[in-house]
C-alpha cells in the first residue's frame, strides 16, 4: 500500500512535447494551449518537457508557444523513442519535481509510456481525454467518452499526484507562436543509460503519410464503397480534400488505418467533411462531430449519419460522387474564365 501523500506538495502543469527526430507532433502545441488555460486558473507555472537528442529548437519553440519553463532531457539514448528509457526519465523528473498535472498527447507514443510513469508513482492516469478543466482546488476534471461515445465521463484523481491524462490529438486548437515570449530552459540530469535498455529499435520507417487531423477538407469512405475507392478519390480530387475512412473500411483493408476517423481512430475538425457510404455509428461520429459542415451521401435513408449531417443526399454513391465531382470541377472552371 502506498503511503498517503500531501497534495499541497505538488504544483505546476506539465506538458509533454513529443518529438521524433526533431519533428514535433502537433498535439504537443494543442496541449500547451490547453495547459495555459489551466494555469490561468490555478496560478501555476506551465512547464514543457522535451526528451530527445539535440532538442534545443524544440525547447525554444515551446517557450514561444506558451511555456514558462522547459525541462530538457537531452541524450542520444532517447532517439529513437523507446518506452523504457522515456518512462524511466519522465518518472525521475516527476519524482524530483512533483508536478500537480501532467498532460501527454494521446498518440501511440504517449499512450505507450504514460503508464510507465503513472504506475511507479501511483499517479492517476486518465486515457484519451477530449475535454479538460480544473476546479478551484486544483482538481483536474478529465472528461472522456465512455461506452462507445454516448456518454462523457468526468474522471477525477483527488488523493494522488500527479494527475495525469493522455489527450486525444486534433481536439484542441494549437497554441500560436510569439517570438518575443521569454522563458527558462532547464537542462535536467539524464538518469537512464543505454546499458539499462530492455528494448531496441531495429528499424523505423515514417513516411509522408497525410495527417488527416490537419486537413481542411475530408472525403471519408465507409462500408458502402464496397472496396472501390475510385468515386471517392475523384470527389476528393475535385475538392482538394484528404481521404479518410470509417473503421469498417479500414477493417476490410480498403484503406490504411492511419486515415481512420472515430473513437479507435483519429479526431478531425475540417471545414468540410463528406461522408461517403458511411452508416454513422456513434464511434465514428465521435471522431468527426467537430467538423464545421458535414455532407452525407448514402443510399440508405435510415442511415444514422443523416442525423449528423448538414446536407444529405439519399442516393447511390457510385453515381453521386462522380457527378458531384464533375459539377464542382465545372463550377471552378467557370470561375476562372474571364
Amino acid at each position: 500500500m502506498t503511503d498517503a501523500i500531501d497534495v499541497d506538495d505538488y504544483a505546476d502543469v506539465w506538458v509533454f512535447v513529443e518529438e521524433h527526430a526533431g519533428e514535433v507532433m502537433p498535439v504537443s502545441w494543442e496541449l500547451l494551449a490547453e495547459g495555459a488555460k489551466l494555469t490561468e486558473k490555478t496560478g501555476d507555472d506551465l512547464v514543457a518537457l522535451t526528451i530527445g537528442e539535440a532538442v534545443d529548437d524544440v525547447a525554444a519553440e515551446a517557450i514561444e508557444r506558451g511555456a514558462d519553463r522547459v525541462l530538457a532531457a537531452d541524450d542520444p539514448v532517447f532517439e529513437p523513442y523507446r518506452a523504457d528509457p522515456y518512462g524511466a526519465q519522465f518518472r525521475a523528473m516527476v519524482e524530483e519535481r512533483n508536478p500537480s498535472i501532467v498532460l501527454i498527447g494521446g498518440t501511440h507514443t504517449g499512450r505507450d509510456f504514460a503508464g510507465r510513469v503513472a504506475v511507479p508513482t501511483h499517479a492517476g492516469l486518465t486515457a484519451d481525454v477530449t475535454e479538460i478543466d480544473v476546479d478551484e482546488e486544483g482538481i483536474l476534471q478529465a472528461r472522456r467518452p465512455a461506452f462507445g461515445g454516448d456518454l462523457l465521463a468526468t474522471i477525477l484523481c483527488e488523493d494522488h499526484r500527479p494527475q495525469m491524462a493522455t489527450i486525444r490529438p486534433g481536439v484542441f486548437e494549437a497554441a500560436g507562436r510569439d517570438p518575443d515570449r521569454e522563458g527558462e530552459i532547464v537542462d535536467v540530469d539524464v538518469v537512464v543509460d543505454e546499458s539499462d535498455a530492455i528494448s531496441d529499435v531495429l528499424e523505423r520507417v515514417v513516411g509522408d503519410t497525410a495527417d488527416i487531423t490537419e486537413a481542411d477538407r475530408i472525403v471519408a469512405v465507409g462500408h458502402g464503397i464496397e472496396g472501390d475507392l475510385e468515386p471517392a478519390l475523384k470527389l476528393a480530387d475535385a475538392l482538394d480534400a484528404e481521404l479518410a475512412a470509417s473503421r469498417a473500411a479500414v477493417d476490410e483493408g480498403w484503406i490504411d488505418g492511419s486515415r481512420q476517423v472515430g473513437q479507435t481512430g483519429k479526431t478531425v475538425r475540417p471545414d468540410l467533411y463528406v461522408a461517403v457510404g458511411i452508416s454513422g455509428a456513434i464511434q465514428h461520429v465521435e471522431g468527426m462531430n467537430k467538423s464545421e459542415t458535414v455532407i452525407a451521401i448514402n443510399d440508405d435513408p435510415n442511415a444514422p449519419i443523416f442525423e449528423h449531417a448538414d446536407y444529405a443526399i439519399v442516393g447511390d454513391l457510385f453515381e453521386v460522387c462522380p457527378a458531384l465531382a464533375d459539377r464542382l470541377t465545372d463550377q471552378r472552371a467557370m470561375e476562372v474564365e474571364p
Partner: protein, 258 residues
C-alpha cells in the same frame, strides 16, 4: 528453449448488442450478452502464432466475475493449454492501476515469458492495462503490435509497431508484454473437438487476491482515479437538410467555401 505465453482476456458487453434505454436515453449494458473483448481475440491469435513458432505452454488469464469462465472456455477451445480466472470481490472498483497490478502478479506466478493483450477493451477503451502490467513488473513492452516474430535464440521478441505515419521494428528482451493491434491478427476458428472439451470438461484454476498476495493493493481504495460524473453527450446541432439532386449538393459545397 520453449516459452511460457500468457494471454489476457476480458469479458465485456457485446458492443453490437448494447441497446439504449428509451426512458433514460442511456446505454443499457445489462441487456447485452457478455462476450470476449474483440481485440483480445486478436491477441489470442497472436499468442497462438508465437506458440507455433517456438513451442511452449499458452495460458489464458482473465480478471472478472465467476461467469467470465465462459470466455476462458472459449480461449481453451481456440487453443490455450490452460486458463486462470482471477476473481475476488476485493477487486471491485479497481481502476487500471490495481487491475494491471493484479494481471502483472498473475503473469509472474505463471512465469510468463510473453504476455499478450488486446490493445484496448471495447467497454473502457483506456489501453492502459498492457503498459501497466509491464510497468508493474519492470518488463519490456511492445504496444500497437501489428506483427510478431519470436527469436528464441536471442531470448527476444520482435514486433512491428504501428506509429503515426509509419511503423517500426522493435526487439524486446523477455519477459515482454505485447498489446496486439486490433484487426491485425484475425482469430482462427476453434476446432470442434476443442469446443466440446472447453464447454464440457474444462475448468479454470481460480485465484483470489490472497493467492496473489495483493489483498491490500486492489479495489476502489487504492485506485487513484474515480468517476466523478457521467453526462449524455449532446449531439452537435446540424442543419439536416436533405437535398434531391447533385446540383443542390454542389451549391451546398460552394456555400461552405463562399
Amino acid at each position: 528453449m520453449t516459452w511460457t505465453i500468457v494471454v489476457g482476456v476480458k469479458q465485456v458487453p457485446d458492443a453490437d448488442e448494447v441497446g439504449i434505454d428509451p426512458d433514460t436515453g442511456r446505454l443499457d449494458r445489462a441487456s447485452a450478452p457478455a462476450v470476449m473483448n474483440g481485440p483480445d481475440q486478436h491477441a489470442l491469435e497472436a499468442a497462438l502464432t508465437i506458440r507455433d513458432q517456438v513451442g511452449g505452454e499458452l495460458y489464458a488469464m482473465s480478471m472478472g466475475p465467476p461467469n467470465a469462465t465462459s470466455i476462458l472456455e472459449e480461449a481453451v477451445a481456440m487453443g490455450c493449454d490452460d486458463a486462470v480466472l482471477i476473481s475476488d470481490r476485493a477487486f471491485a472498483g479497481s481502476d487500471t492501476w490495481p487491475t494491471s497490478l493484479t494481471l502483472a502478479r498473475a503473469a509472474e506466478a505463471l512465469e510468463a515469458d510473453v504476455v499478450l493483450c488486446g490493445e484496448e477493451t471495447t467497454d473502457s477503451s483506456t489501453g492502459q492495462v498492457p503498459p501497466g502490467i509491464a510497468a508493474h513488473n519492470g518488463w519490456a513492452q511492445l504496444t500497437y503490435a501489428e506483427a510478431v516474430d519470436a527469436r528464441p535464440d536471442e531470448d527476444r521478441l520482435v514486433a512491428r509497431r504501428d506509429v503515426e505515419g509509419g511503423h517500426e521494428l522493435v526487439a524486446a528482451d523477455l519477459p515482454v508484454v505485447v498489446a496486439a493491434a486490433f484487426g491485425e491478427f484475425p482469430p482462427r476458428p476453434a476446432p470442434l473437438h476443442r469446443k466440446i472439451y472447453g464447454e464440457n470438461d474444462f475448468e479454470p484454476t481460480v485465484w483470489d487476491a490472497e493467492d496473489l498476495e495483493i489483498e491490500d493493493e486492489v479495489g476502489l481504495a487504492v485506485s487513484p482515479t474515480s468517476v466523478g460524473s457521467m453526462e449524455t453527450v449532446q449531439p452537435v446541432e446540424r442543419k439536416s437538410e436533405v437535398v434531391d439532386d447533385v446540383d443542390d449538393l454542389a451549391a451546398a459545397v460552394e456555400e461552405v467555401f463562399a
